[in-house]
Symmetry: D2
Subunit: 133 residues, 4 copies
Amino acid sequence: MKDTIIKVRGYHLDIYKHVNNARYLEFLEEARWALFDDNGALELLAQKNWGFAVVNININFRRAATVGDILCVRTQLGDFNQKSGILTQTIRNLKTEKIITEAQVTYVILDLNTNRALPLNDEIRTILTRVIS
Amino acid sequence: MKDTIIKVRGYHLDIYKHVNNARYLEFLEEARWALFDDNGALELLAQKNWGFAVVNININFRRAATVGDILCVRTQLGDFNQKSGILTQTIRNLKTEKIITEAQVTYVILDLNTNRALPLNDEIRTILTRVIS
Amino acid sequence: MKDTIIKVRGYHLDIYKHVNNARYLEFLEEARWALFDDNGALELLAQKNWGFAVVNININFRRAATVGDILCVRTQLGDFNQKSGILTQTIRNLKTEKIITEAQVTYVILDLNTNRALPLNDEIRTILTRVIS
Amino acid sequence: MKDTIIKVRGYHLDIYKHVNNARYLEFLEEARWALFDDNGALELLAQKNWGFAVVNININFRRAATVGDILCVRTQLGDFNQKSGILTQTIRNLKTEKIITEAQVTYVILDLNTNRALPLNDEIRTILTRVIS
């Protein structure tokens, strides 16, 4: 699990003076990189010539956020399927604790030699579970 | 239905030399604006003090796109539920015809006085159906 | 010379309901790609293993643009110096003809083998002048 | 003076596997907001119905940054002219200390009632000098 804190700036907003939907996707991507990169998981995968790829994002926009709000993006490892895994990501307003946005992100681990998704075998699950969660 | 054509540029790519996932969300947003704004639907809604808001995006990333690809973003009006409607959006490679990305976008029509979602009554359905499709 | 037309959308704006400064840089970059890529100049350079790199941007933000404005981004080849050249780019409101933003963009042509700037010799000037202007 | 630390992620890069030029403008904007917003300067200005507006950016792109680099964006208050002031911003690689990008940002303080630039009188200079530097 990893929390990334982001303060909403004027340039994050759109015509409605709310954080623009596409911007949340960047916040979620930043939080995934913080989870996978900062603790070395991407490097462990790269040593095997494996890569991380998102195949589906299902995102609910629940409430609006505006300038000055401090957001907490929480990323957690979810279930493993045979060939794909789930990350759950929530963006909360740190002060009100209300959920702004929540997303289920489905990923695969690619064999970068063949560009095909690998079965999520024990070795991969161990890397992901030990390093990330 | 509306098609928006976008040529992939070097600044759309990321470290993998593919169009970055968050960028597709911008392409989809541009296509929705082209659908709703360019034919006056947003203005018709604004006259009633109604607004259009996305509440969920479910997006599949199927194939990669890279520099020089010409993409066709197609936006179509889908089903109406009681309080929400669906847009389907696909991004195809114009040359290969292969689907790069497909998304279901769930929206509501907001009463901007109360900031609450309106029932999708006949009047709203007529605006959306006549003007957009 | 090349003109790129862009309609301002709600997602281009920021808290001040004006197009955000960083967004203009994207509009200018899109216009430079349209100039260099769509007529084959980038490919001609790539055949020599040469690349185009921006080394300085000097940009004036003169007026605000807002949703619905139709902008014309004009890119023109300017002077050549010994090792660098100038592009001038202006963004005008197509209706009022007023200048929104104007920029001088200084570029070099890189030898991608050595990653060093090449002298802007006759061969390079001819490619740039014939193909672009 | 304020330092903002940013770790370069894969989604910051472009086709050349370097941080894209437009992205640096976002890093600089984030750093300016951090300087003006986090210490209350924007609020002090807002109480007077004054706003901060950038009128020119002159930016040199000196070296490339790539994934994993840790960047330090330093923002400093520069000279005051009669109606405009200067901020200097540098982006350094935190490890090598080399300058990646440097910019001079010219700003004005707007009277939001008239949307005109105010003379940078003693009151404004004091706010900027005391709060920011």
